[in-house]
């Protein structure tokens, strides 16, 4: 009996010790598991968004769980009980009057085996189930919830703003033309290069876009002016050479117009070739007949070439429109200088609200004696200052000003004489 009881109680004490120590591990593990599950859930959601595979995430989760178990084991070791403590625990719980402790020291017999009640060390099912279930729900939810993959960040823009590209293209074309002075384009070219040297992000900054637009518009205006003035000079030359009966006065006018067009061409950017400008500047309309047809033809041809160069530079369409630029450039969304469609409407309804009032009444309170402070600035007795000398001149329909000194008073007289009579009759 004694040996059997000894073996029995030794096993039971070992069982209680193991159960309590495992209980401590679980006691430390559950909070860590809960925190770990929250962290892992966040990691799964983030990982799935950036495209990590479920397998990799699950492996990471298993490794994390193992790490938590090791951590909780290390923490729980401090609370682990020895065999003597387990014996004391059994003694205390079963109220054995420390007979186990005494018997272990050889004093007195071991208690009867019937005194054992293993059900006293039950697992706390509620505590042990709630946390793992919550963790499992969190993690499963993280794996099952639909998460769109994150878009990769937009690459930096590679193409220059359309305005700048267009301006550079125009400058290139104009420089190749022999009838355009390349030195006149140097400043614009330098500005375009300066804009082009900026970083890609700065190209599409507000200031960058504005500068490119301004450069393009400036160049476009210059090219148009070159084209117009060249055409004008050409037509003036044709007129001067074609009219044999030109009087002195006409010749003077022609000369004046020609010199105006030439001076416009001279200050223009881009400017005509200096040699051509020099020849044109020496022309005297009254002596144009003295110029050989060959020379005139050459001048006209060169002007025609300059015109053609301007047209070529800007394309077949004159100058290009904003719509063209938008269609040619990158898709919208990068901002620009053109204003929007205008201010939004102030009313969301088509018709004004009907307040069901048929008459308008003025509310007035002539008694200011009971007015509170601040309700009126001051009270004074007086009369309206009416300009009785003003003429009451009827005008023939439409809008008119009535009373010279009225200033802002406007009426509308759209009534026919019959209608006016009807009105007078009514108010009588």
């Amino acid at each position: 009996m004694s040996v059997d009881a000894f073996t029995f109680w030794r096993r039971k004490i070992g069982w209680v010790r193991l159960r309590i120590n495992v209980g401590w591990v679980l006691d430390r593990l559950l909070p860590l598991l809960f925190l770990g599950a929250i962290g892992f859930t966040i990691a799964v959601l983030a990982g799935r968004r950036v495209g990590w595979s479920d397998r990799a995430l699950a492996t990471g989760g298993v490794l994390s769980a193992c790490a938590l178990v090791v951590l909780s084991l290390a923490q729980a070791r401090r609370r682990f009980i020895s065999t003597a403590q387990a014996r004391a625990q059994v003694d205390s719980t079963l109220r054995l009057h420390n007979r186990l402790a005494s018997a272990a020291e050889g004093i007195g017999p071991w208690p009867e085996t019937a005194m054992w009640k293993g059900a006293l060390w039950r697992w706390n099912a509620r505590r042990l189930s709630i946390v793992p279930a919550t963790c499992a729900a969190l993690i499963c939810g993280a794996f099952l919830v639909e998460i769109p993959l994150a878009r990769p960040p937009l690459p930096p823009p590679t193409a220059k703003p359309p305005a700048l590209a267009k301006a550079e293209a125009w400058i290139d074309k104009l420089e190749k033309s022999p009838d355009v002075d390349p030195s006149s384009l140097e400043q614009m070219k330098e500005e375009a290069e300066q804009l082009g040297r900026q970083s890609a992000e700065e190209w599409y900054s507000h200031a960058g876009l504005e500068a490119a637009d301004h450069l393009k518009n400036q160049l476009s205006s210059g090219i148009k002016a070159l084209e117009q003035n060249a055409t004008k000079v050409e037509s003036l030359l044709s007129a001067a050479t074609g009219d044999a009966t030109m009087t002195e006065g006409q010749a003077g006018e022609l000369k004046e117009e020609l010199s105006g067009a030439l001076s416009a061409l001279e200050g223009n950017v881009p400017a005509l070739d200096k040699e051509l400008m020099g020849k044109l500047g020496k022309l005297d309309p009254s002596r144009l007949r003295d110029i050989s047809p060959q020379q005139m033809k050459e001048l006209k041809q060169r002007l025609e070439h300059a015109k053609q160069a301007a047209e070529d530079a800007m394309g077949s369409k004159e100058g290009g429109s904003d719509e063209d630029e938008e269609s040619e450039g990158e898709p919208g969304g990068r901002g620009g200088l053109s204003p929007g469609p205008g201010a939004s409407k102030l009313s969301f309804e088509d018709h004004p609200a009907n307040l069901s009032t048929s008459a308008t009444k003025a509310v007035e309170n002539p008694d200011m004696s009971h007015a509170a402070l601040g309700q009126t600035v001051g009270v004074s007795a007086g009369q309206h200052d009416v300009d009785k000398t003003a003429e009451n001149r009827a005008q023939s329909g439409g809008n008119g000003s009535q009373g010279a000194g009225a200033g802002t008073v406007w009426t509308q007289q759209n009534l026919t004489p019959q209608e006016q009579r009807q009105l007078q009759q009514f108010f009588k």
Binding site: R19, I20, G23, W24, L26, D27, L30, R79, I81, A84, Q85, R87, A88, Q89, D91, S92, T93, L94, R95, L96, H97, N98, R99, A101, S102, E105, G106, I107, G108, K117, L120, W121, R122, W123, N124, R127, L128
Partner: protein, 340 residues
């Protein structure tokens, strides 16, 4: 091993006598089993007892019955403010012996195995200290001559908890000399009925001797040999340690906690109780059973706790609830229940 610790044979010899003593005393004092058990436990631990209760609850009857049941001498001292130390310890009286006048020591009532110090808090501190010194030293010194008190020597002091006017409350240091402070409560109606039926005023009950004084002395010696498991000693140590402020939540409001003497008293009382109940070892349950009687007069509360209506007994109860016998608590993942 059998010499060092009490054995089954020792227990078999002492057990029936102690059981007979218990049943004899319970037959004298009705309905006070806990009081009787505490008194026997205290005496087995060689401790002095302080009984606190109203008059007429059977304190003197109990002391007389104990003395008769064990075959010990007993004396009763009614403490009054004019009681002198010599009235307790005895005086040297000038006597004529063989034609010569000499001072002869006349032993006081303290020279008895059991001294009932009735209403000890009514005597002056000087007189109290004379008795308390005798309790501690188990000897008295009169006229420069030291005289040993009879062995065993027990003082069972009483004090009235309600009439405090004109009393001299015992200082804490002197209270510590008492092993137990036992509160005696009123009897319930059924016990009173039995008293009315079986007792008569002025007629003392017949008490049979359950054991001799020598046998009781053997029991006292045997109680010292009852095995104290280390875990129980650890429990006592933790309990006493926790009685000091800051060491436990239960000690909130405690000015002075229990002393090491209290720990020794707990151990001795636990051993004695184990012997009385026929066990070879002291246990957690023994410590818990005697903790209130041992600790309540050794724990001093601060004024805030006293004003709040807290008592030392409340602190002891809280300590017993807070300090787990087995030490380490059970993890929350396990459900553990005690057998009631």
């Amino acid at each position: 091993m059998s010499q060092r610790f009490a054995s089954d044979t020792d227990l078999a010899a002492a057990g029936p006598k102690l059981s007979a003593l218990l049943s004899t005393l319970n037959g004298v004092l009705f309905g006070q089993q806990m009081l009787v058990e505490s008194v026997i436990v205290g005496m087995l631990a060689r401790g002095h007892l302080l009984l606190e209760g109203l008059p007429g609850l059977g304190k003197t009857e109990l002391v007389k019955a104990v003395a008769k049941a064990i075959g010990l001498t007993q004396r009763r001292i009614q403490f009054t403010p004019d009681l002198l130390p010599g009235d307790i310890t005895g005086n040297a009286i000038l006597s004529e012996i063989d034609g010569q006048r000499r001072f002869v020591f006349q032993p006081g009532p303290v020279f008895a195995n059991i001294v009932l110090a009735d209403e000890i808090n009514r005597a002056s501190p000087k007189t109290q200290s004379a008795l308390l010194e005798a309790m501690q030293e188990r000897q008295v010194t009169v006229m420069g001559e030291t005289r040993a008190l009879p062995d065993p020597f027990f003082v069972l002091a009483t004090q009235n908890p309600i009439e405090m006017e004109g009393t001299y409350p015992l200082p804490e240091a002197q209270l510590d000399r008492f092993l137990f402070k036992i509160e005696i409560h009123r009897n319930p109606a059924d016990v009173l009925k039995r008293i009315v039926m079986e007792r008569e005023i002025g007629v003392e009950p017949v008490v049979n001797e359950a054991m001799t004084a020598a046998e009781f002395g053997e029991c006292i010696a045997l109680a010292r040999r009852v095995y104290m498991p280390e875990v129980v000693a650890d429990f006592i140590a933790r309990l006493v340690h926790a009685s000091h402020t800051g060491n436990s939540a239960a000690a909130e409001g405690v000015k002075f906690g229990a002393s090491p003497r209290a720990a020794l008293a707990l151990a001795a009382a636990a051993r004695s109780r184990a012997l009385l109940l026929g066990r070879l070892n002291a246990s957690f349950e023994d410590v818990q059973a005697v903790a209130r009687a041992v600790l309540q007069h050794r724990i001093l509360l601060d004024y805030r706790a006293r004003v709040a209506g807290k008592s030392s007994a409340d602190v002891v109860a809280a300590l017993l609830a807070e300090v787990k016998p087995a030490g380490e608590p059970i993890p929350s993942t396990l459900l553990s229940a005690k057998i009631r």
